[in-house]
């Protein structure tokens, strides 16, 4: 019954999609190897391209299915992920942190750590990053297998293995170039599916007012319609099961700032901009669509809660929260639109796997193998090694996909991973950028302490030593523990070890940002000022928040 009723029109749409993406790969590879520099190029991109890539990199399939799952499970409170979490962090990245990344001319996040601290910190971060990317690639594989299960009725394990094989073929054939085009294209295709789906779903339940009535009658009750009610510590009644402390500090400050400001895949997009101004505008431009994305993720999730009978059932795996969007697609979309939705979802998952696997092989090859294991070989050697790392990355990804299948809400699993890997990193960055006295060894000690802090929180939670309101609340607290431990250890170790000479910190710390070249006259118009863009984004977010208190 859950199997979707696909016909040749849907397959035609799917085939067109992959033909276009692979076709771009072939063309780019053969004739225009040179012109790819317009996309990633040595810092020559206008902000609208990097902004587009920045948004697309984030609106993956995980985001969509996970946030819809949250919408069904927690209701309107899911908005915290966007309005407390993402938007302020994106503004912070653009306004405060970008001058250091761009000015220091680093190419990646681990590389900043090598310059600011030492090789040991660099290795530790590169290793944890490699593990994190493989785990996240696994989440994407698992989620794609879920879609294939709905589409073709395949068992999850078969779906995981087959999707992995498709992605491997796709990376080898199209290379990184088609991966990036795929990322931007899937963003538009998925919006082309989600916007009509949301409108139909809302229409079917009688508009926003009808949805509100239906949610009040659902297990979520009135609590599912508010963001800021029932958050008092000690008297937590909201559906997330967390007070405002873990939400504001854990999710908002630590997890989201950590994700948006230290994530290699995101920051890299901004680094390819043509000037510091364009680099700063990249996340700021991205913040505007981000404000409105919840309309097409949370609303469908809430509609699914009221229209799909038994959603969130513990006994029927087909009805778990993660399936909210696929179930709605099967419920409402006719052939044609069905194909668009499937193309968008499939492309988005493959983009997620491809992005993580290529980040994995890049870091393993250039941040680990080349500098520390086999130095000074020729280019062909590292290329071969990189290919091998890709295959290994995908194989390990299959294994980690099976771990992900143990979590019924993908977003909760992702937040747990972020609490391990991103939260301590953010503490190290923020202290290292603003406190010149922080020493190289404090960088390493802080990261180790922070990661252990998040791990211990998780172990104690799983062993029932400490109780939290929900899995999600446990991740938020884990992130706080990671951040605080990292900060304390960094400060203590800094006080007893030798700092770097101040001259070595040029361009890396606050107050010593490199003066980059002035922007051309044409760029300096009022509506492009970073402060104005950031302020406007925060203002819109604040006003919208008032409607959902």
């Amino acid at each position: 019954m859950l199997r979707l009723d696909t016909n040749w029109v849907d397959y035609l749409i799917l085939v067109i999609y992959f033909t276009v993406v692979l076709g771009i790969g072939f063309v780019a590879k053969r004739t225009v190897k040179t012109s790819l520099d317009y996309f990633l190029s040595g810092r020559s991109l206008p902000a609208w391209i990097t902004g587009l890539a920045f948004i697309s990199a984030n609106l993956g399939a995980l985001e969509i299915l996970g946030m819809a799952a949250n919408g069904a499970q927690y209701g309107v409170a899911t908005l915290h992920f966007y309005w407390i979490g993402a938007v302020p962090a994106m503004v912070f990245l653009g306004l405060v942190m970008m001058p250091f990344y761009y000015g220091a001319k680093v190419r990646s996040v681990p590389e900043y750590l090598r310059l600011r601290f030492n090789n040991a910190t660099h290795v530790f971060n590169a290793l944890t990053f490699a593990v994190a990317t493989v785990l996240i690639a696994g989440v994407n594989l698992y989620a794609l297998a879920l879609v294939l299960k709905l589409l073709l009725g395949w068992p999850i394990f078969l779906g995981i293995v087959v999707s992995a094989a498709i992605v491997l073929a796709y990376i080898t054939l199209g290379g990184l170039s088609s991966a990036i085009y795929n990322e931007v294209l899937q963003f538009f295709v998925i919006l082309a599916a989600l916007i009509p789906l949301t409108l139909i779903a809302l229409h079917d339940v009688g508009g926003w007012e009808g949805l509100k009535d239906a949610v009040r009658a659902s297990p979520l009750k009135e609590g599912g319609l508010h963001t800021w009610k029932g958050l008092a510590p000690g008297d937590v009644t909201n559906p997330i099961g967390a007070s405002w402390i873990p939400i504001v500090f854990g999710l908002g400050f630590v997890l989201s700032f950590g994700y948006w400001t230290t994530n290699f895949a995101e920051v890299q997009r901004a680094l390819s901009a043509k000037s510091l101004g364009a680099a700063r505008r990249t996340p700021l431009i991205g913040a505007f669509p981000k404000i409105f994305i919840p309309a097409v993720t949370i609303i469908p999730g809430m509609v699914a809660l009221v229209t799909i009978k038994g959603l969130g059932s513990e006994t029927n795996p087909d009805l778990e929260y993660n399936n909210a969007i696929p179930l709605l697609i099967g419920e409402y979309l006719p052939n044609g639109m069905l194909g668009v939705a499937l193309a968008g979802l499939q492309a988005a998952f493959m983009a997620g796997v491809a992005a993580n696997v290529s980040a994995f092989n890049t870091v393993v090859t250039y941040d680990l193998w080349e500098p520390y294991v086999r130095r000074g070989r020729d280019d062909a050697y590292y290329l071969r090694f990189g290919r091998l790392a890709t295959v290994v990355g995908i194989l390990v990804g299959i294994g980690t996909a099976l771990i992900a299948s143990g979590y019924s809400n993908i977003m909760n699993y992702i937040q747990l991973l972020f609490s391990f890997f991103n939260a301590p990193l953010f503490a190290t960055f923020i202290i290292g950028m603003f406190w010149r006295r922080m020493t190289p060894w404090a960088g390493l000690a802080g990261l180790i302490a922070g990661t252990s802090g998040a791990a211990l929180t998780h172990i104690f939670y799983k062993a029932d030593v400490i109780g939290f309101g929900s899995d999600l609340a446990a991740s938020f607290w884990g992130a706080i523990a990671a951040f605080v431990l990292d900060a304390v250890v960094s400060v203590v170790v800094s006080l007893v070890t030798q700092p770097k000479p101040v001259d070595d910190l040029q361009g890396l710390v606050y107050g010593m940002a490199n003066e980059t070249e002035e922007e051309p006259e044409s760029e300096r118009v009022w509506y492009r000022r970073p402060g104005l863009l950031g302020g406007t984004a925060l203002g819109i977010t604040f006003v919208l928040s008032l409607f959902f208190i």
Binding site: I16, V20, V32, E111, L115, A192, M337, T362
Partner: protein
Amino acid sequence: MSTSSGDDRHTPTGDPLISEAERAREERGGGVDTARAADLLDIRRIIGGLLGVYGVILLIAGITDSQAEIDRAAGINVNLWTGIALLVVAALFIAWALARPLSSELEKAER
């Protein structure tokens, strides 16, 4: 370039694409072909083209849809309306790409 150790054949931590592009740039020294290639692979044209084709397919599907299929989507002919919307969006992207070609924007950036 960055100040880190290692040789300069590729960027220290970077993406193979970046180093590939940089090497290629050294070899060619710019030219008409690059400009044409940049326009051909302009992401706006590709988005416009793909959404346009999807728009046509959905439009045809919408016109030929039976009443049963329309009823399924809460009584809205979703293929028809989405098809029209996609054609409009596609036209906007193509118009943008033609009005401000990427080749000339890149030229401006290099100056």
